[in-house]
Amino acid sequence: STVISGEVTDGFVNPIRQVVPEENDEQLLNAEHHFTLFKSKYEKTYATQVEHDHRFRVFKANLRRARRNQLLDPSAVHGVTQFSDLTPKEFRRKFLGLKRRGFRLPTDTQTAPILPTSD
């Protein structure tokens, strides 16, 4: 059996859909083992069992996401990071802080002179 997953992130729809086997997914990922290593490496502790279980679910989703990212970005290595127990939304809220303004620049912006790039 297979499942088709298309990821929607912050209004950005990934046009590449990937077909991955669903059965034995957890076995393949060995999620619990990875989660134990993750908690140890990044010294993660959770206040309650409920919080722990929630973070484990997020962690498993991120393992699947890392695997998808690996296939879509083959020249990089993707996997478990210090952010693996955060949803993409939590990650954006806590660690990204650029005030968006699209591609517009203020009218009074000073632009750098064009530099020679040949010879």
Partner: protein
């Protein structure tokens, strides 16, 4: 232009810092560029204070009144340069250390300014111009879409699709030529980016992203260069 260049080898880049759980990437990006500019002006590498920007910089984008620098809630690098121009300069990291918390009183002490901005400007989105400005003027403050960075461990990131909507401020410190992209069967040139998530993230705190004429992850469209003047503490 050289095929490879890295400001770390020239001693213009401070060790990787960690913004913690605070959306202050914009301040780390701006400070990194100013540290490089200060190095070029003085030949002295000084770690400067991000916390000064977090606490004291509330500068607004003149084109969008609601885009004001606001500590852990975000900001823009050009606003930070404008603040540094108006305030007179930046203090050392050790004199105004990073806490990763905002809503604290500004403790800026003008008598302890060690680096000052003389001017800043926006670089054309042409990648050769970005490289030329990097080589000529030092590390550049840039914005990028960080979607792929949550799971990044190493190598040259060159995703098939990446949003160009920027949400993260980082520092461009160099470029290389020999990142290997096995699927595409060719060597791919790449940019070297200093991040502010600590040295345990990515390649010792650094991110490599492929270089090409397609504005990968929006990294070509908000690029700023800053120049510093030599300042001695009073």
């Amino acid at each position: 232009l050289p095929t490879e260049f890295d400001w770390r080898e020239q001693g213009a880049v401070t060790p990787v810092k960690n913004q913690g759980m605070c959306g202050s990437c914009w301040s780390f990006s701006a400070i990194g560029a100013l540290e490089g500019a200060h190095f070029l002006a003085t030949k002295e590498l000084v770690s400067l204070s991000e916390q000064q920007l977090v606490d004291c910089d509330h500068e607004c984008d003149p084109a969008q009144a609601n885009s004001c620098d606001s500590g852990c809630s975000g900001g823009l690098m050009n606003n930070a340069f404008e603040y540094a121009l108006k305030a007179g300069g930046l203090m050392k990291e050790e004199d105004y250390p990073y806490t990763g918390r905002d809503h604290t009183a500004c403790k800026f002490d003008k008598s302890k300014i060690v680096a000052s901005v003389s001017n800043f400007s926006v670089v054309s989105s042409d990648e050769d111009q970005i490289a030329a400005n990097l080589v000529q003027h030092g590390p550049l403050a840039i914005a990028i879409n960080a979607m792929w960075m949550q799971t990044y461990i190493g190598g040259v990131s060159c995703p098939y699709v990446c949003s160009k909507s920027q949400d993260h401020g980082v520092l461009l410190v160099g470029f290389g030529s020999s990142g290997y992209a096995p699927i595409r069967l060719k060597e791919k040139p790449y940019w070297i980016i200093k991040n502010s998530w600590g040295a345990m993230w990515g390649e010792h705190g650094y991110y490599k992203i492929c270089r090409g004429p397609h504005n990968m992850c929006g990294m070509d469209t908000m690029v700023s260069t800053v120049a510093a003047v030599h300042t001695s503490p009073k």
